[in-house]
Symmetry: C2
Subunit: 411 residues, 2 copies
């Protein structure tokens, strides 16, 4: 058997996905496995035990990132596969886990076939990709790659109980000793579910991901005047909730105006005092803007700020803004995107290029080495939801494209 | 001294207002004395002790409404003064309390002057006017007047902990034995702060209230599809939060379109899951519409419903509506409004007629007997807020107009 005829064992991949999905499983489906929780610890124990069974050398770094390495015929920087095993509060089975477990499946397939690659290969599970309790998201890859210091990350506190990343890492026993920053990698490949509807809508199996959209998150705080909803004439109001409402309308127009792949979302609103008969006196809401073109994203931000400035004057309210997150768009390595397309074609899978609207570890690791991503379809585009679903055939197809692309890169 | 020369004791009124305001006082000012809370119990104990000191016969009915009665020279239905002593969570010192304590002050003034009125007079403190924990608001007067049964009111549960009105009445020891419904009253007079900016803006001291605006409260629930804010193209969204935002914009246009004293407020919004990077899958929000003209109010409601129907189709979401409260506009007794104007003029106070934008016990009692209200200015129109304020001179002026009008009615 030559490497070119290899196929991964689909049943084995699916049974590992199922076993991992049982840790933190929610009633009614889906999984809650928040970063650094007890469920995360159990998931880490399972994944590292699998890595050791496959003969990988397992290293845990100071932020709990897990890397299992398989030696190559030659020494040198490895080709890394990987993703994350933490989830949001109401997550699905495949977001993150697929990229890690498909990496293990690739390793086991090579082991079974007795194939040695020229370069070492590695499988990584990055800490806290989701950022559900600890900001920012993609924290593990940021520290692994060196854009964030270990100390800064350790000091981050949970949004709910105020405990730190460092405390929780120690508690679950996953603060390792391997250093972080400036990793030596030949290339990085991440297989992931699309988390969007494009492949599913178009009936395609594989996405060759060209890049990740830039992300701009703004928290907007409005200080108006709380007043009686019956007795305060409209002309005398300073309604903080109105600012949120007007902004919701504005960002939809903005997305249409900027065009292309621009998206804009007001996902969180808190009114105070939040009563039926009181004109809202203050309001906090968020605006999420994304575009694969940095210039367009900046224009969207500028138009949003101009709109808010004007609104503050017109409504007689005070509006303050706070950047919660900002990532410039990422362009993946063109050669790697082409390898993915070729690998999909060789296996007979339909494919297209697309951008990722979600953030991923690969966009961070792309700062350190050539990187790219492989997408498989998400049923109806649903993710971060217990109804997340990808067809088993598509999971297996994605893992086979990962295997084919890895062999190209590692030889 | 004849009754015509009488004046209330301003300092005594102010010191009672201050003493009552200490029960449930908030740090930084204002008061939290939710209906049927321990603070409400203490306030009831204080008010009933004052009533007894003034020689009033105190009766507590099955919903905890407190009525203190002073006999007249003749038997027959009394002239009742009153309001409420419960507050919203961040209330002021005068909303409600002024009407009750000015009633006591009128009684004490008559006692001190040795004046007997022809008709009996009474002072009432109605249970749960604010409706902050138990819906509907004006519950006490509704049951007192007979529009709501005692049993129905007892079964109402708190929005926070699910305990019932009946349980809480028993807990604080204010479930009395006096029957409710079909009260025999000669007339009802309620002195209250305006809770709006009209008198303050125009530099006037007394408002002769002609009526109360009709109130329409609707809770709107939107079922959309929760999805990833980065990966879901705008055209494929079913954003429940967008419906709230669009409605906020619409109701402002609606108020302008209907004109007159129409006001429209979205005061409460809850998004789910309420996260920066998730398109809201569901949303609950409220719309508060008020107008002093029933026909205009109905038109506003119809336009709102047509807007929501259209929006549901356009956005591909499900919108359900639930009426939280509906009161038709109240017209107060024209003769009584004229008496109030005459009493203000006799005391040399500037006055104007106006409508109340807020709901009041008087609008309910107006179903049982002639009724009207006296307003005094609210500084900057602020109420339901710890910054609620009325000048001491205006509080005293209002109580003197109450005294003058009462004497006209009781003789």
């Amino acid at each position: 058997m030559t490497a070119r005829n290899l196929n991964i064992d689909g049943q084995r991949l699916l049974s590992r996905l199922k076993a991992l999905g049982e840790i933190g499983a929610l009633e009614g489906g889906g999984v809650c496995r928040l970063a650094l929780s007890d469920e995360d610890r159990l998931a880490r124990d399972l994944v590292t035990s699998w890595m050791r069974e496959l003969g990988l050398e397992v290293r845990i770094d100071r932020l709990g990132n897990i890397v299992g390495t398989r030696p190559g015929v030659e020494d040198g920087p490895p080709v890394m596969m990987g993703s994350h095993i933490d989830t949001v509060r109401t997550g699905g089975l495949y977001d993150g886990s697929l990229g890690v477990l498909a990496g293990l499946e690739v390793v086991e397939t090579l082991n079974d076939a007795g194939i040695a690659t020229r370069r070492p290969i590695a499988v990584a599970a990055f800490t806290n990709e989701e950022g559900a309790r600890f900001a920012p998201d993609m924290m593990g890859s940021l520290v692994f790659e060196g854009s964030m210091s270990v100390e800064e990350a350790h000091a981050v506190t949970a949004v709910d109980d105020g405990t730190t990343v460092g405390e929780n890492l120690a508690r679950i026993g996953y603060e390792g000793v391997a250093p972080c920053g400036a990793p030596a990698l030949h290339a990085f490949l991440e297989l992931h579910i699309e988390q969007g509807p494009v492949l599913d809508e178009e009936g395609l199996v594989i996405g060759a991901v060209e890049g990740v959209q830039g992300i701009s998150w703004t928290e907007v705080r409005v200080a108006g005047v709380s007043n009686h909803a019956g007795t305060t004439p409209m002309r005398l109001r300073h309604d903080a909730g109105y600012v949120a409402g007007a902004t919701i309308g504005f960002v939809r127009e903005l997305a249409s105006l900027i065009g292309g792949d621009q998206v804009a979302t007001v996902g969180r609103i808190e009114l105070y005092p939040n009563l039926v008969n009181v004109v809202p006196g203050s309001c906090t809401f968020t605006v999420d803007l994304r575009n694969s073109d940095e210039e367009c994203l900046r224009e969207a931000e500028q138009r949003l700020h101009a709109f808010l400035d004007d609104l503050a004057t017109r409504e007689g309210v005070e509006i303050t803004r706070h950047a919660l997150a900002r990532f410039v768009p990422t362009r993946f390595d063109e050669d790697m995107v082409r390898l993915i397309e070729r690998s999909a074609a060789a296996l007979g899978h339909s494919a297209r290029r697309l951008s990722s609207g979600a953030g991923h570890d690969a966009q961070i690791i792309a700062r350190a080495c050539p990187a790219a991503m492989i997408f498989v379809p998400s049923h109806r585009g649903i993710s971060h939801n217990i109804d997340e679903h990808t067809e088993p055939d598509h999971l297996v197809a994605g893992a086979n494209v990962l295997l084919g692309t890895l062999l190209d890169l590692a030889d």
